[in-house]
Subunit: 346 residues, 4 copies
């Protein structure tokens, strides 16, 4: 059930409703909207008696939830959630969130080189894995804490916000200490223990769609995080597994408008994993922006052929610069913007 | 094997090479390019002796074919094929090919109403099925010849080129008589008898990707048509079958750059079948143009809720007008154009 | 709507009901069952007035159809259809239908060698393609009429019933002349013109499931054939297209009990195409019989490495003999039998 | 690289080779086979110098590994691994491993009722989840430690070995304390932190194939466990995600012979999750045994319609008894056995 407060309800009234819900043994999730606050309720086993709540001052109406999810739905909140990372960097707002960087942090040198390049081209968020979930136990698994320290340096020196993956309860503590956004990878989209732990974090979470996740499963995975009280979740489409063999995965751009219809959470696209082929990253980045995504996550490497992981899908900084140029123009058609690159000649 | 003629080879020299190939018992396919003509050879069982051909005047080099297809590949022809339908309507050139109209021709009235609307919005090609391949034998199967006559009227009265589906050897004769482009539907992509027959037609062929066709299977299906001597083939991505259930099919936009890398044939996108949901048609149309497609095929109906087929995915003429506006802007970012609508107020 | 006749209804009464239906402008499909005859009605656009029919002598009840198909459903006929090919060869009865032979008829010699071997091992039906639908226009396309003549010889000399594929309206006329069962391949499962033509044939039809066909699509394809008056259809599972890459296709054995629940048509399994790998044919054949299939279709070649098509999935006659041994034992667990091999030593 | 010891190599010689490998900075995995011991090496970054090892007494040959996995491959160990759980219960040997029980432990009463029934029918292993990974955060998540205590009672009172799922590092410690086999669910197949932790356990691990995992990914997931020193891994096919909609998942029985060709690990089948439909469990169980699986995992509930999870796919104890009868007969065709049921009348 959702409680829709009246538009002029005071914060005291909202608090009182929340306290009442908690007294009933449930958990209250007040979500402010542009015109009014909605309150989601979780923790109930069956239907909730609306009468006791409807009688409280400031309550507009009690709405039954028609979907399996309660907190991620547009029913609860009409406006798209905008996640503010500070320093003017927001995800879900008019300015597109461009996250760029190497697949993995390999060394200080490599990381700084790429950071300088992507910052110059206009990226405001930096990606780079310190913990790498790899199909083989014998593949490079990331620099762990050492990698996170390099990322923290990059934030300080280049002013980039850090998005990096946590793979278990242990790594998430370090990631929330060093990073700005906790990434949960596709393979962990239904690692419910990790989702619950991320839901207890103060840091926003970037949740990647599992390789064979339906829309409902993606939204329910996000619901796990919100249900624990962390409402700052960004979804990410990164390709699904199909029979098609001309790309590593099949990028499902139709999920962008589908998510936007069902949920208030922002959603970005990762065309690097989504295609697995360097030469497809630019055209699919244009398409992702054209379809209405809130941003991109792009793998960039200055020596893709020597990358320790995912070299085939990493683009060179020069190509990234061109990518930024192209999406800047597409974005303007949709009334959105891309941050200017400091080093850009135009 | 491909024969690359020298750039200054005369047409007599080209003819002589073709005659030599035919004398050897094979079939010659001379394909003019912007700088030189290439000649594909089919009908051989094994490798061809190059020596006898290389010795002929005007021959540049004999190149072995590295792909399973010979005639559809970029190896044979570097430039994208532009198909000229007359009256300035071309597919594969700078102006995007926008094909719009109802799923099925239901009546003269319905067809003319929609034709007027899409022409006014800038479409230069009209779609509408007279033969409908339907999953159920009890569903509306199309008006057949009567439908084709209505389409011929539309061409005359609205100046639209007609794209309509042939479903067997019988219908293809009528379609090539009444229409401008013969459509081969997704279910018939590997109906090899129909492909061979289409290869003998003088009319261009629009070949839709099968619902579970790989890139190679799509190109090989086109190769069947070219091998019979019809080099005017347009490919069309219309969604593939996956586990995802938020759309009827999963539109695979990555196949556009993949086709463009492998083949010289133009390729368009059908977001109506590709998503099966009206509200997804606009965003995916923008994405299709942004990814670099050569055009769109859009189902438009003035009364979608009363359509005899595919009502769920048909958009209203007003939405089509907006779609044209939006893709016009995206197209200009990519250096391409969309024909202006006659009735447009701007 | 289905008309369930009373169990003691006379053939005159059944005829009278059929005449009444035809007079109403529809088509009547009388289907005899073990206890009573049911009559399916097709050709109606909307609901049918039951009253006029219910009043006729011998009519038990009029039952509305709850499925999109009318004639293939168990609602119409409770018992599994048994198709009698003469000489004691039946499909759908207690004796399993084992269809074996080469992918393609390559020569008289090759065909007769394999026919002798599979007959000796107990097969009573012979497969072999005279028309081969091939992905590439440059691959071996079959011996056509010459191949059919070889097959006719095999029938005469080895007493095997002939199952062979028709690929278009032209070939189906020859196939129904020379063969005993008309095979419609997976790529043609939704070639509705071909289905309609097969529905007008006097010969039984073996309909293979399309590579990405749902259960409903398969049943609706069969419905096309029955709607034209040919009630002798055998379905065939031959693997679906998935992401899995350890086999060429993924054999979906769960479709066997699913079909048996919905439809009265017999269903067999083709583990050769279903797996595409020789070494998987035996174990999956055992599984197919154990799951309850009505038979198998197996590719056998005495020189698999030299086969003109599908060599990778063809098994050697010695392996086929072992296969027959193994399924004979599995069959007996399910209360079914396999014909004894004439040349078997046991 | 694999070290194949001579057949008469002494345990001192084997120890010496392992010590040498550890001295080189790698990890040695001695795997005894029926005729000789093989030693796998992990922890190396590149190729290993074979010369120093080949010179040691008792070494037969050094074999380069041709697959991405080293320890799960048949190259390392020719015989199928047999996992001994004590009391005569083995997985991978001639007697099939039948694991049966409810989806979730719901109460002592429910659990004991089902345990009594499945033990009577011949099951020697009991399944029942105390930790339930659920798509929705609002669904029943299991009784946790209380559930494990109920399972421990069942082992004591019914003599059944306990197979139960661990979902994170926390639960695995309890599961290895209370259970006999640690189950890793499909959603966690690539939860590499969990796999590594399971690799450090003394208890065998049942690893379920992910819903969209390829054969190689499944084997690499198992490799994570073996690389940590736990060689007792049982694989489990439980259905993959495809477009097909007549079952919840598509059971891929061809993966059984595929695994058996590549790996020495035993593999069982879960037709309950594999189909998601009660009425498909029996036929697919027969098929799984016929294809050659080493056992089954079956959901049984005495009140399926009231089950807190997966009621649709749980079968009644009476059906389970019939299932055991049927597979007992199929098993005997393959030279395998099923334990007799104590309470069986036959």
């Amino acid at each position: 059930m959702l409680i829709m407060m009246k538009s002029h309800a005071t914060s005291e009234e909202i608090d009182a409703v929340c306290r009442k819900i908690e007294l009933m043994g449930y958990r209250a999730h007040p979500i402010p909207g542009s015109t009014r606050t909605a309150i989601g309720i979780t923790g109930n086993q069956g239907p909730i008696e609306a009468a006791a709540i409807e009688a409280l001052p400031g309550v507009g109406e009690c709405v039954p939830v028609s979907k399996p999810y309660k907190l991620v739905g547009r029913e609860l909140k009409e406006e798209t959630t905008v996640i503010d990372l500070g320093d003017g960097v927001r995800i879900g707002g008019p300015e597109l969130a461009i996250i760029a960087g190497p697949c993995a942090v390999e060394s200080r040198e490599q990381t700084r080189t790429i950071a300088a390049a992507v910052a110059a081209a206009g990226a405001r968020l930096f990606r780079g894995g310190a913990y790498k979930p790899r199909t083989s136990p014998y593949s490079f698994q990331g620099l762990a804490k050492e990698g996170l320290e390099i990322l923290a340096e990059v934030r300080k020196d280049f002013g980039l916000k850090i998005v990096t993956e946590a793979i278990d309860v242990e790594s998430i503590e370090l990631v929330e200490h060093y990073g700005d956004v906790i990434q949960i990878g596709a393979r962990n989209m239904q690692n419910f223990s990790l989702l619950k732990r991320a839901g207890k974090s103060q840091k926003p979470v970037l949740l990647k769609r599992g390789i064979s996740a339906t829309l409902d499963e993606l939204l329910m995975a996000a619901e796990y995080i919100l249900a624990e009280g962390n409402y700052n979740v960004i979804l990410c489409e990164r390709g699904i597994r199909t029979f098609a063999d001309h790309t590593r995965n099949t990028l499902d751009l139709s999920v962008i408008p589908a998510v936007q219809r069902q949920s208030h959470l922002p959603i970005i696209v990762d065309p690097s994993h989504g295609t697995g082929r360097r030469e497809k990253v630019l055209p699919l980045s244009r398409a992702a922006i054209a379809v209405g995504a809130d941003g991109l996550m792009i793998e960039v490497h200055h020596q893709p052929e020597e990358a320790l992981s995912d070299g085939n899908q990493s683009i060179h900084p020069l190509d990234f610069e061109q990518l930024m140029d192209e999406i800047r123009q597409i974005a303007s058609v949709l009334g959105r913007t891309v941050a200017p690159g400091s080093a850009r000649k135009t």
